[in-house]
């Protein structure tokens, strides 16, 4: 067994050396959300950034909760997520030194066309959620501590539904796309970010039933990680990305992205 362990260490060392020799250091790792990746935004803006700065951006797309965790552990150089409350806490706890608004879009409430809970006539997003709970119509929740999941839980709260549960409320613990697939399969209601919805193909009977309330606002923020906590990260390069996102060029690149003729992200850096 000792021999085996020694072999393993040797193999890891050789593999590590090979990768290190190949590695081009002009890149950063960005922990971000599935909505930005799946909608194709990064494929549109990263080439522009690379052209201007020569820096490549490697995107690891996960839920917002997991993106925070990756940032905390120092496994990415910078973080771009959508949970303003969580982001501010992240800064307060010393994991990030700076947070900036980058862009926004909105959440939409999606459901089967026949709309059994009649939410298309709701006066507000909170009312729509209250109607779903009232009718006990099937609702699929992300249940994965993502930005969308956190926003959904806040909506239930404002709808006066404490701790939604029961057979109608299905907590999936899945990404946005998987949750939409499930909702399509069981004709359930679901809250999704607009970008993922527009990029989503397997809609079956699902359609947008409620949209436009200010409460459904979805803000994305960029977080600069704390160099004192993780001195080995590429803070210089990460800062260039951060600044570029907020610059005129970056904001224009975001605004110019269209999918199926729709603008999905609206820049709002200060």
């Amino acid at each position: 067994m000792k021999h085996l362990f020694r072999n393993l260490v040797a193999v890891v060392a050789v593999l590590g050396a090979v990768t290190a020799a190949q590695a081009d250091d002009r890149y950063i790792t960005l922990a971000s959300t599935t909505s930005t990746e799946a909608s194709g935004l990064f494929e549109h803006i990263i080439p522009e950034f690379r052209e201007e700065t020569g820096i490549d951006v490697r995107v690891v797309a996960v839920g917002t909760g997991q993106a925070f965790e990756i940032g905390r552990r120092g496994d990415a150089d910078i973080v771009l997520v959508h949970d303003t409350t969580g982001e501010k806490e992240f800064v307060d706890n010393g994991y990030a030194t700076e947070r900036a608004d980058v862009m926004y879009n909105d959440f939409v409430i999606i459901g089967p066309e026949d709309d059994p809970a009649n939410i298309s006539e709701a006066d507000s997003a909170a009312d729509a959620f209250a109607r779903i709970a009232e009718a006990e119509a099937p609702f699929t929740s992300r249940g994965d501590d993502s930005g969308t999941h956190r926003a959904e839980l806040r909506m239930w709260e404002s709808a006066g539904v404490e701790d939604p549960s029961g057979r109608w409320y299905r907590e999936l613990g899945s990404g946005m796309g998987e949750t939409l697939n499930t909702a399509a399969g069981m004709n359930a209601y679901v809250m999704a970010d607009r970008a993922t919805w527009v990029a989503f193909d397997n809609r079956q009977d699902l359609t947008i039933l409620y949209e436009g309330d200010e409460a459904l606002f979805n803000q994305y923020g960029s977080l600069l990680l704390n160099p004192e906590r993780h001195p080995d990260l590429k803070h210089d390069l990460a800062e260039q990305w951060h600044e570029w996102l907020l610059s005129e060029d970056g904001q224009e690149a975001i605004a110019s992205y269209r999918l199926r003729g729709q603008q999905l992200f609206f820049p709002n850096a200060e």
Binding site: N7, V12, G16, T19, V59, R73, N181, D201, N202
Partner: protein, 231 residues
């Protein structure tokens, strides 16, 4: 389904460079993993087959049980180890193809070791008296036994390759599914499923199956040729 087959065919005919990159990386990662794992696991399996030592039954049982190691768990273990906050964080290997190879090696190693242990042990039963009468030590017997069992062991190695190329849980966690860098066939399939692009996802799945079938086919043809030549 028709749609998926058409998509698969179109993807193959178009030779899309991004898809080619994904296919190449899939093969590179899984083949490297299977080679590394086999170099370690074949001798280890043979050694366990030949030597009697206290606790051998426990080792064999653990090895057999580890054949069912969930990929997500293997991925998490590697993630925690390679994470900057982990013991090997300084190597900066997380979210690289190397990390994916390491995770797959951990997945395949028990499979190759456990199955080769079984095969070599059976062969040892047949050869034992003859080899010992010739004065061949156990250590010397290992290469002979592995060589004589090579046709069965090819199947073992292919089982390992199948496991590596089919799993998504480990490579997704340690690789991060980064476009153009750590995206492989299985993580690409998961991503397209998430986008609700089911025909494309299934089309990619068909291509993956064809790839694995090709690797197996090549192994079969080479094996048959060798067998015939040796009479």
């Amino acid at each position: 389904m028709d749609n998926a087959f058409q998509t698969a065919l179109r993807l193959i005919l178009e030779m899309d460079p991004e898809l080619l990159g994904i296919v190449t990386l899939s093969l590179r990662v899984s083949l490297t993993a299977v080679v590394v794992a086999s170099i370690i696991a074949l001798p280890v399996g043979a050694a366990i087959a030949l030597w009697q030592f206290p606790g051998r039954g426990v080792v064999v049982t653990i090895l057999n049980a580890l054949m069912g190691l969930p990929p997500v768990v293997a991925g998490l273990m590697v993630y925690m180890t390679l994470s900057r906050a982990g013991p090997l964080g300084e190597l900066g290997l997380l979210f690289t193809p190397t990390a994916m190879v390491i995770a797959q090696v951990i997945l395949i190693l028990p499979i190759v070791a456990a199955l080769s242990r079984q095969i070599v042990e059976e062969l040892w039963g047949e050869y034992r008296e003859q080899l010992q009468s010739l004065g061949v030590s156990r250590l010397r017997a290992i290469p002979t036994l592995l060589w004589d069992a090579r046709f069965s062991l090819v199947t073992v190695v292919l089982a390992g390759f199948g496991r590596a190329s089919a799993e998504v849980g480990a490579v997704l966690i340690v690789g991060g599914n980064i476009q153009g860098f750590t995206r492989v066939m299985t993580t690409a399939i998961a991503l397209e499923t998430n986008k609700g692009n089911l025909p494309l996802a299934l089309g990619l799945g068909i291509i993956l199956l064809l790839l694995v079938a090709t690797v197996n086919g090549v192994a079969y043809v080479v094996g048959e040729a060798a067998r015939r030549r040796l009479g």
